[in-house]
Symmetry: D3
Subunit: 184 residues, 6 copies
């Protein structure tokens, strides 16, 4: 059997699984107004998030959930988007991935942060296809630590929203609603 204690000692760094995807917006990615359709962006975010999670988990992974996503700035036909995915925290069998989307025009101008989201992936055992224990994540920088810390609160919210935790038990979210979050 896998020894979870040992695995935690072998925790992995964020940089070991960080993944960058660059795509050019092609005609079929856009709606009749010439803007990238939200669903296509979500699809790419899921792919790059899954690649990042696969590297951290050293396993095939499946998407367990995606948190609230907002779309603010339109992305146009011919624009170039860069999607960056990095692990924020690993739980027993799942890992949370922070995915950021940046866009620029084809000339590399008009750079802008477009949106971001937190995806959760579950690592699977190759033979049983059941969830398996995965390496822990070791935050090193201040930023990594901040994402690591707030991951617990997001996990609680996720459990409440999917009906697997009663709202009144979500002690961490009470903290969320008692103070304004720096970054969520």
């Amino acid at each position: 059997m896998e020894n979870k204690k040992t695995m935690e000692l072998e925790g992995k760094k964020v940089s070991e699984s960080k993944t960058i995807m660059t795509e050019m917006i092609m005609p079929n990615d856009t709606n009749p107004l010439g803007n990238l359709m939200g669903g296509n962006l979500l699809r790419w975010m899921d792919i790059v998030g899954g690649i990042c999670a696969g590297k951290h988990c050293e396993a095939h992974v499946v998407t367990a959930s995606v948190d609230h996503v907002s779309f603010q700035k339109p992305i146009k036909l011919g624009d170039v988007i860069t999607i960056e995915a990095r692990a924020t925290r690993a739980f027993t069998t799942s890992v949370e991935i922070y995915v950021e989307v940046f866009a620029a025009d084809v000339k590399g101008k008009n750079n802008r942060m477009c949106n971001h989201a937190y995806f959760t992936f579950v690592g699977l055992n190759d033979d049983t296809l059941k969830p398996k224990a995965i390496p822990s994540l070791v935050p090193l920088t201040r930023d990594e630590q901040s994402l690591y810390d707030s991951a617990l609160r997001r996990r609680e919210l996720r459990l409440v929203l999917s009906g697997r935790m009663k709202p009144e038990q979500a002690s961490g979210i009470k903290a969320l609603f008692a103070e304004a979050p720096a970054k969520t």
Copy 2:
């Protein structure tokens, strides 16, 4: 100028924009384990949600946000999925769409509800491409009324999560955390 009062009197029914999409899972929709990738499902949900919103708004629409989505039951290559989208409540320029995903095998057996999500779309003026006033929604059945009522609470949570409302102002969510939700 558009008269919002009049438009509310001309509120539309849920049935006027309800939209059903059926798709068969093709090889390229799956991951190496042969399951539908989460991102592909999100893409289809966004398309059918957008078609539904376009009918309600009688306008081109853009995706503004998608709430938390969980993926529980795997969908296999060759399975047939049915995605149903219906409006739950219209706000000044945006409409919330409830999207449900059902799957079955190619023989029509093993029917199951796979997941659901709330998408928000904004109606755009054809010329200015700015948000425009949209028709209100008139709930008729008990189910429609329930989704209509809970839409306010989800909207509050959305505003908090996207940083446009301070958590302490979200009075409706306090209700969410004071009692277990019947259906969210």
Copy 3:
């Protein structure tokens, strides 16, 4: 061995396999004039027809034939099409599916019936991949009965056109050419 007599007693209703597909016309679906290409529409009609046939046959199915299809009204980029498929009559190992195509613009306006076609699918045994006996179809409404009745005549024409029946033996088609068909 399967008991055909029993299966006929267990005939299935049209509503049990009716299937609806909704698609938005994307740039790559169109020709240089900005209209949906006929072949792309045929491809979708075949998919939704095959899903409908799979449900009725409770089996994997393959397309055996598609009858004459006319294209009258152009469908534009950004239009939304709804394709409805329902079984009209089951023969020993094959089922005829009636497929109708409706289009509207993205605002739900300019609704129109665009075209229709009859597809025939054969149900296959999972192991041998040979044709297998399928459930009969029980027409209930006046419309369903009308499509059920005229299916024999269409089948005769199909056999003649594919060279499997001599024209002079096609007694039903003589009826077709002796009187104007109500709906074919």
Copy 4:
């Protein structure tokens, strides 16, 4: 105004528009049984037929109809198909195209004729997008003459099936049902 008489004198040969397409069957072209889906084949047949018609008409074309199509021999993943399209006869504004499909395995073995169909395309005026007069077709070989002759009968059947000719007026089809066709 275009002088139809002159254009007929300038009739074009079949060889001037003959078009060949070769495709390898990729995973996404197949159904869960690993066979090419009928609808995908129809889509390719429509594209190559349209290219052939565009060359003959020297115009943008749209698909007007496709006649009865049978699918007999399965085409497998990895097989190579060759689709040949050639004009059979030109009418005032439309041209009938005969499309044949051949398949072989990746090694060039197991060559077989898979199916064929007649498509009709209409040539469009660039500015008005209305049907325009097109060049006539001059059959040269015995085969070309045979397809040219039988085109009238197929056209009659097409008009009957689309409800634009009364069955009792279709004198040519009576011939069809009085004698077995050599090739239809």
Copy 5:
């Protein structure tokens, strides 16, 4: 074991594997300027080259290399391209394929040769997936002989460019740089 001597006696003709592909440029094949992207053309050239090589080798093949390719004349959305592939010379386990690209507009006008390239494919044994001996090629026409002869020089350059031959050993290329090539 395969008898290479015998196989050479059974050398195949160029015409036995010549392959023609026709494609219409669809919106998603183009860049924001409306021109076919170079990479998409390379992809089609590789597919048609591979089909041609599979026929000559009577085997599954993999792309080993593609020589220098220049893109001179832009190909526009809606244009029709014809790609012709034919074997030039077979070596022990690999075959060189000459691929030419022609374009015309949708009306069959403005015909032009767009570019060409030499691809090399390796034939694989079905079981071991290792390279296998392939039939030799027998040039018949003057053109075929010319391509056959110059193939040795191109092979030398390929070996030098991929680091598998020292430049000073490439005796054939010295010929290349001593005289201007008629066609390379």
Copy 6:
């Protein structure tokens, strides 16, 4: 008019346009043996190279040429590839881009360099769509300098192979064939 002298003073660094693309190999990207098809890889290399060139040129670009590409190690279905593109040297209106391909399995294991190629892109003026003067490139590291120096030799070979320079004039290539290249 653009002042070329000034632009050279404003030469750009390699890091300003370096671009990374990550892709997971999906079923439709593979041949019947389950390996990534060479042409699909070339297509991605062209896209990421074009994005990199667009950033350096601050312009729309078109592919002018791709040099010799070898494919050595197979890439399997489900593998993750990382494609890195960086400018090596800018000429008057064109820039050479060095594209490297790395692959790993879905677990981040079995990392390997798969292949590389040099693409050349031309920057276009937005209005005239004619080639325009582009910024020069300033190599900073030893590696960048080495690629910068060898770019002249590759350019000569390109001109010879596309028939725009006589072989006997290619003085740089004589150097290539007099000494073994460190990296080409």
